[in-house]
């Protein structure tokens, strides 16, 4: 189970990602505990498996429109399906990888698995409760979901 300090690591990592990668800051709402994780999965989710000194998943889930605009902010002209899926995985990878600054190198992250609404249950398939970190970026809303034992 995460403590408040550990949640803060992911909040700070998320804020840093949007500010640096897109040039547009995100605001983060109050994290909350959630049982029905499938309900928070949006159009796409980039899922990172965590092993080593912690077990669980970290995922970033966002609507397609948001991901397309993020790509444009990164000067990417190809906002097709492949790049949208690629980006959602890269965001999850970056937020999870940055967390090693606080969790240490034994916080082992997998390469991303990409889910969409057709297999949202895959993203949500974790044991235990999850912290949802709501993200507001421009006119869009997304979530970072952290479920760690």
């Amino acid at each position: 189970m995460l403590d408040a300090e550990e949640v803060r690591t992911f909040v700070q990592g998320t804020v840093h990602f949007f500010e640096t990668a897109t040039g547009h800051p995100a605001t983060v709402g109050s994290p909350y505990l959630c049982i029905d994780k499938a309900a928070v999965v949006q159009d796409y989710a980039g899922v990172i498996g965590i092993s080593g000194n912690r077990e669980g998943k970290v995922y970033f889930t966002a609507p397609r429109g948001m991901l397309s605009v993020m790509l444009m902010c990164m000067n990417e002209t190809d906002t097709g399906e492949q790049n949208v899926r690629d980006l959602v995985g890269e965001v999850a990878n970056t937020i999870s990888g940055n967390a090693r600054r606080d969790f240490g190198r034994n916080f082992v992250i997998s390469t991303p698995t990409i889910c969409d609404r057709t297999n949202a249950a895959t993203a949500a398939a974790t044991t235990g409760r999850s912290f949802i970190i709501p993200i507001n970026w421009r006119s869009y809303s997304a979530n970072v979901v952290v479920c760690l034992q």
């Binding site: 840093h16 000067n75 690629d86 990878n93 937020i95 990888g97 190198r105």
Partner: protein, 129 residues
């Protein structure tokens, strides 16, 4: 009589990352006129295969990749071309990982996410500018 300036050496660069968005971002954002992108690879195994053919002077290298990760890739390419300049570009932000990459033979470390300026500064430092 003033000395004739020595022409600046052109360097061939390879980009290795499992993310297409990231590969394209690095290629698009790098603005050093000494660097020419000659190839890309999607994982460590692909990188080693292409490295043998292209023998680039400079490589940007992700660490977390399928098939073969970046640390193992460094070990392989250093044996093929010991003087290759490697900039690790990774989200893994712990110091121990950066130290390990440098010990294996990488020459620099840039943490994701990064701005265009940070990328160009890291590449300039890598090639000694």
């Amino acid at each position: 009589m003033s000395a004739v300036p020595k022409p600046r050496e052109q360097l061939r660069m390879m980009i290795v990352d499992d993310s297409n968005v990231m590969r394209r971002r690095i290629e698009r954002s790098q603005q050093n006129d000494r660097l020419e992108v000659v190839g890309t690879a999607v994982n460590g195994l692909d990188a080693v295969t292409k490295f043998k053919q292209l023998l680039p002077d400079v490589m940007t290298l992700d660490l977390t990749m399928p098939e073969m990760d970046g640390i193992e890739c460094v070990e392989h390419v250093i044996k093929i071309k010991p003087d290759v300049l490697i900039l690790v570009v990774s989200a893994l932000a712990d110091k121990a990982t950066a130290v390990e990459a440098i010990e294996k033979g990488a020459n620099g470390f840039l943490c994701k996410p990064f701005t265009d300026d940070q990328l160009n500064e890291a590449l300039a430092e890598l090639i000694g500018e």
